[in-house]
Amino acid sequence: MSIDKQDVLKIAHLARLALNEEDAVQYQHSLSSVLSLVEQMQSVNTDGVEPLSNPLEMTQRLREDVVTESNRREEFLANAPQTEAGLFLVPKVID
């Protein structure tokens, strides 16, 4: 299984990772190796096998509808790269 550079750039865009030409070539190589490695799954017959997403197969527990958290805005904002008036700032969003 190998993928081309266009695929790599498409995936990188979906994952929001800026790649230069050199990176793209390198990832094309390494992603292809990994995909070849995982390709061996296709040889196994899994008809009728239920997928397993949680090893314990437990079910969801529920939380009472109570407010347990108080306002800690300043503590959280302290980690943010840029803030103003209690807001996180990002480059202009255009709808």
Partner: protein, 486 residues
């Protein structure tokens, strides 16, 4: 005093042979002298440690506290610690100081332990050599030219070198067991859901599990006693009652049924490692255990299954690192897209980016069934193998890794060579069962770990089996030469 077990240290602290402040000071001095050779800590919290030690001494003076009170420990830098830098080995979080505490570190703190600092690790726990850290590679205390294993390489190195009494680690595909094996210490990956994941920075949510790393099974039992248990903040936390991990340590092993999976002893396993493992197994027979060969037929499939599931979950879990609310943001973004693209390309290292892309690809439209869903089906086959095997035997034993610690830089060029190293550990995480690595001997100067796998929630059984072995062997008491230098 750095070589003593938790039980003895706790006793001596109570007897006032020395104080926690003195003990903590000893470790801080050792860290200052030895860590420059190892690079095992990302941050050292000296002031906090001494403050906690002082508080512990007061508690002990009043006859209060637990067996961990006043004991200096280290935490993998993946557990969020309130007010202390938490980087996850990444540039992305080079400036992240969480305003909250993980459940694991909270419980250990409440037990009165002293936090010496945060240990180095592969970035976002992705790696088997600790070479993928933004803060540099960690060296193996047994041979500074070799890797300590990963991703909890820093935690393994600090315990082996006597730079902490014990440490926490996390294990997604072997990240506690393989470094424990490479560094000659004892490490336990609990049953999935046994230890809360709250405040643990997620790699792969359905596989991640925190656990103890220490010199001995008994020390691990002390830590697990505190770490384990239901947490309402984690939906995947199990409500199954915890056992007392200390009281059963001395149960004799007479009649213990050990299974040796034939797939664990095939091609690829270093012959001297195999020999060491078989010698250890013979020791168990001397202790009254019986051994039979078993089969885990889908073992080989654990590699592809894992390398689809883990990157898929990771690609989604790591989307929150976007430069908006915390962590790294690129300089002068020209627009929103540019901010995302450059922040993430700069903040994540190569291995992390590679796995994010593998996961993104595996989940993308048209590929989901062939990759993610297929991997989940194989995951069930792997679980079924273990369930069947563990209905016949009490524990399963085998190697942790095909070789001893390898040279730094020797596997960084081939993108999949390192993945193949994980063959004996991955399936345990896919199935969610508990497993340990304990020191079982040496090949040359390098330690070899024996892996012991058990049934769901059989941590007490595993610790008992390991402890009995350690009562009759001294592999776990060996100290690397560099650690004796201070």
């Amino acid at each position: 005093m750095f070589e003593q077990s938790i039980s003895i240290l706790a006793q001596k602290l109570r007897n006032k042979d020395f104080s926690s402040v003195e003990l903590t000071r000893t470790f801080l001095d050792r860290i200052a002298k030895l860590d420059p050779q190892l690079n095992s800590y990302i941050s050292i919290s000296e002031d906090l440690a001494l403050k906690q030690a002082k508080a512990a001494d007061e508690l002990l003076a009043n006859g209060q506290g637990s067996s961990l009170t006043g004991i200096p420990v280290a935490h993998k830098d993946l557990f969020c610690t309130q007010g202390t830098l938490t980087t996850c080995g990444s540039k992305m979080l080079h400036n992240f100081v969480p305003p909250y505490e993980s459940t694991v570190t909270q419980r250990i703190k409440e037990a009165g332990a002293v936090m010496l600092g945060k240990t180095n690790m592969d970035e976002f726990a992705m790696g088997s050599s600790n070479e993928n850290s933004f803060y540099g590679a960690v060296k193996n205390p047994w041979n500074l030219d070799t890797v300590p294993g990963g991703s909890s390489g820093g935690s393994a190195a600090v315990v082996a070198a006597g730079l902490a009494v014990a440490a926490t680690g996390t294990d997604t595909g072997g990240s506690i067991r393989q470094p424990a094996s490479f560094c000659g210490i004892t490490g336990l990956k609990p049953t999935y859901g046994r230890v809360s994941r709250f405040g643990m920075i997620a790699f792969a949510s359905s596989l991640d599990q925190g656990g103890p790393m220490a010199k001995s099974a008994e020390d691990c039992a002390h830590l697990l006693q505190t770490m384990a248990g239901f947490d309402e903040k984690d939906s995947t936390s199990s409500e199954t009652e915890t056992e007392d991990y200390l009281t059963n340590l001395n149960t004799p092993l007479t009649g213990l049924k050990i299974g040796l999976p034939k797939e664990y002893f095939g091609d690829g396993l270093d012959s001297q490692v195999a020999e060491t493992i078989m010698t250890a197994v013979k020791e168990f027979e001397k202790l009254g255990a019986t051994v039979k060969e078993i089969s885990l037929p889908n073992l080989q499939l654990s590699i592809p299954s894992y390398y689809v599931i883990a990157p898929s979950e990771a690609s989604s879990n790591l989307s929150r690192f976007d430069g908006v609310r915390f962590g790294h943001r690129c300089e002068d973004p020209k627009d929103l897209l540019d901010m995302y693209m450059r922040t993430r390309a700069e903040g994540f290292g190569g291995e992390v980016q590679k796995r994010i892309m593998v996961g993104t690809y595996a989940l993308s439209e048209g590929y989901y069934d062939a990759y993610y869903l297929k991997a989940q089906k194989i995951r069930r086959l792997i679980k079924n193998d273990f369930v069947a095997a563990l209905s016949e035997v009490d524990v399963i034993m085998g190697p942790v890794a095909p070789t001893t610690a390898f040279a730094i830089g020797s596997k960084t060029d081939d993108p999949v060579a390192m993945y193949l190293e994980d063959i004996y550990t991955l399936s345990v995480n896919l199935a969610g069962i508990p497993a340990m690595s304990i020191p079982a001997g040496f090949v040359g100067d390098m330690p070899v770990g024996l892996q012991i796998m058990g049934n769901y929630f059989a941590e007490a059984k595993l610790l008992n089996v390991a402890h009995q072995f350690q009562q009759h062997t001294d592999w776990h008491l060996q100290t690397p030469t560099m650690a004796k230098g201070a």
